[in-house]
Symmetry: C2
Subunit: 353 residues, 2 copies
C-alpha cells in the first residue's frame, strides 16, 4: 500500500481549506494512512507523528517507518496534543465523527489560542474508493470463504448447533489462510432465521430448518461478506417461492447497477420486486453497504442514500425477507464497481430452486 | 441481573444534579442498564426507551421487556433525538466520553432550546463495583480458562505456530463452555515475547523459546484475563532470575493490597521490586486494569491512578519485563476485592523456578 500517497491526498484536500494538519483519531484511518495496526492516534502534517505507547513502539517503527513515533507516558490523546502543539500550526483539523466530546474538550483546552476545525468524512470518503491492492485483498478474503462454503454448505445437516457451525466455519477459513473472520458468523437456524441480525445460540439444527449463513473472512485487515440461505430436507411451505423472489430482487438491483447510478435506486429496484411479491414490509433493512477495512462502511445502499455508484466502490447487494415464526431468506453478494460495471467477488452458488 | 435497580441508581445520581434523563450512547452501558446486547442507544428517563432498528427489534423486546423499544427508519441517533424530544425535559444529560463531536452537534441542533449537559463517568463508575452476579460470571470465565490451560500449557512444544496455538486455545475454551474468547489470544513466542502487546504471527515455536500466553474467556458478556510465561526446553540465560523477579513484583503488589489502598501504590510496590532488580525500565506498562464487560476497563492500576482499591473492584495484577532481542516475561492474575482483601480468581500454576 502506498501510505505516503494517501497522506499526500489528505494533505492536499486540507490545503484547499487552508489547513496543514489533521488529528486522526479513528484507528482505522490511522492504519489506512500509515500501515500501523496497533492502538494510537496520528498527527498528519508535513512530518506525520504516530502517537502510541511503549507496548506498540516496536510495531509502530516497523510498520510505519516513514512516521515519527511518539510514545508518551500518559494517554494517546495527551501525546497527540503534545505533537499538535509542536507543529506550531495555528489551525488544526480533526475528525468530528471520531473524536468524543470529552476528547475535544481536552484538546481545545490544551491547544489554547489555536483553533480546532471539524472536517467531516475526509478519510472515509477516500476509503470508499478502493485501490487495486485493496480490491485484491477483499477478493482474496471472498475467495477463501467461497472455497470453504463449497464444502461447508452441503455438509449442513441436523445435529450440530449454531455455535458449533460458526466454530467449524471459522476453523475452516483460518486453515484456508484467512487472518480472521470478517465478523462473528451468523448461522441463523429455524425461527432464528427470521432475525436479520441473529446472534449465535446453542440451538441444534433440525430437519426442515431454514438456515441463513452470513459469513466473511479478513485478509490483511480487509473483509469480505456473503450470505447464503438453504433449507435442511423438506423446506417449509412457500420457501421456494420466497427464495425466488429474493433472488429476483437481487438480480434486479444488479441489473440496475452502473457507474453513476444513484444508490437509492438500486435499493428501490430490489424493493420494487419484493413489494410486487407482497413482501415489501418483510424486507426490513437496507439493500447493502460498503466493505473494506470494516465489514460495514461507506457507502451505505439504502432508500435514502444520497450518493451514486462510483468506480472503486466495493458494496454488498443483499435483499432479504423475514417472517416471525416462519423464518427468513437473505442472499448477499459482494461486488467491486469498475468502469464497465459491477464485478462480482463472491461465487458460492445460490440454490437452484 | 437487576437492570431496573441499576437504572434507578443512575436516575438518583442524575436527580442530585437536577437532571431527569440521560442519553446513553456507550453500547456497553446500554447493555449494563437494560440487558439488550444489540446495537442501539438508550434514553434513560422515568420510562426507558431503547432506540434501535428493526434488525434488533425482536431481541430488544425479549432482552429488555421493561423498556419501550423504538425502531425508527433512520439512524439510532435520530431515534434517540425523537425520544429525547418526547420526554419534554428541558435538560438532558449525555455521556461525553461516548458521544462523538458530530453526534453532539446533531443532537444540539435537534434539541433546539433544550440543554445538553455532559455528565462524565457516571455509568462507568457504577460498573467498577461488580455485583455478585457479575463476579460469578467473571470467575466462571476465569475457571474455564484455568481448566483449559491445565492441558494447554504442558502441551506447548516446538512445531506449532502462534496462530495455530491461538486457534487451539480458542477451540478448547469454546468447547469448555465459554461464549467467546475475552480478546484475541496473545501467543508471543521467542523474540515476539519482547512485545508487551504482540499480535499473532505464523512464527513456529522453537526449542528454547520463551512463550507469553495472555488469554481470556467471555461468559455472558463478562471477560477474564490471565497471563503465563514459560520456556520450551532449555530457556535463555537469565530466564529463571528474571521470572523470579517478576513473580516477586507481583507478590509485592498483592501483599500491599487492601481495601482503601491507593492503586498507584500497588503499581509502585511492584515497580520497586523490578527497579531493585535492575529492570525498572523494562517494566514498560501499567501494573493492571479493571475487568468486566470489557477486558480493559476502569479502574486502571498505574503509577498515576488517583483511585483507591474498593470492594467490588475486579482487577489484574500483571507486572512484566521486556528485552528487545531476548524476550519478555509477564505474569498476570485476576482478583476481586472483598472486605477481607483480594480474592484470586485465576488459579493456573506459575512456574516453579
Amino acid at each position: 500500500m502506498d501510505y505516503a500517497r494517501r497522506r499526500k491526498r489528505v494533505l492536499t484536500q486540507l490545503a484547499e481549506q487552508n489547513l496543514a494538519g489533521l488529528l486522526v483519531t479513528n484507528h482505522l484511518h490511522v492504519r489506512y494512512l500509515t500501515g500501523f495496526t496497533g492502538e494510537g492516534f496520528l498527527l498528519l502534517a508535513e512530518t506525520p507523528v504516530l502517537c502510541t505507547d511503549r507496548r506498540y513502539e516496536v510495531e509502530a517503527r516497523e510498520q510505519a517507518p516513514d512516521c515519527e513515533v511518539n510514545c508518551a507516558e500518559n494517554s494517546h490523546l495527551s501525546t497527540l496534543l503534545t505533537a499538535a502543539l509542536a507543529t506550531g500550526l495555528p489551525r488544526l483539523a480533526f475528525e468530528p465523527e471520531s473524536l468524543a466530546f470529552s476528547q475535544h474538550q481536552t484538546l481545545s483546552e490544551g491547544l489554547g489560542e489555536r483553533t480546532l476545525v471539524p472536517v467531516p468524512n475526509l478519510v472515509s470518503a477516500l476509503r470508499q474508493h478502493k485501490e487495486p491492492e485493496e480490491v485484491a485483498l477483499i477478493a482474496q478474503a471472498a475467495a477463501i470463504v467461497d472455497s470453504v462454503l463449497a464444502d461447508f454448505l452441503p455438509s449442513l445437516t441436523p445435529g450440530r448447533s449454531e455455535k458449533r457451525l460458526a466454530w467449524d466455519f471459522t476453523e475452516a477459513i483460518l486453515e484456508a489462510g484467512a487472518e480472521d473472520v470478517g465478523f462473528t458468523p451468523i448461522m441463523a437456524s429455524g425461527p432464528h432465521s427470521a432475525l436479520p441480525h441473529a446472534t449465535l445460540t446453542d440451538r441444534v439444527l433440525q430437519e426442515g430448518d431454514i438456515v441463513v449463513v452470513d459469513v466473511g473472512a479478513k485478509v490483511e485487515g480487509y473483509c469480505s461478506d456473503i450470505t447464503r440461505t438453504l433449507a435442511l430436507g423438506e423446506p417449509p411451505p412457500e420457501f421456494a417461492e420466497r427464495y425466488r423472489a429474493v433472488r429476483e430482487a437481487q438480480r434486479a438491483a444488479i441489473a440496475a447497477a452502473h457507474v453513476g447510478k444513484p444508490l437509492a435506486e438500486l435499493d428501490q429496484a430490489a424493493r420494487a420486486v419484493l413489494t410486487a411479491a407482497g413482501m415489501g414490509e418483510q424486507f426490513s433493512h437496507s439493500l447493502g453497504h460498503g466493505v473494506g477495512l470494516e465489514v460495514h462502511e461507506a457507502p451505505s445502499v439504502n432508500r435514502t442514500s444520497p450518493a451514486v455508484l462510483e468506480v472503486g466502490h466495493v458494496v454488498t447487494i443483499e435483499p432479504g425477507v423475514y417472517f416471525e415464526g416462519w423464518g427468513g431468506i437473505r442472499l448477499e453478494d459482494l461486488f467491486v464497481v469498475e468502469e464497465s460495471g459491477l464485478r462480482q467477488l463472491t461465487t458460492a452458488p445460490q440454490l437452484p430452486v
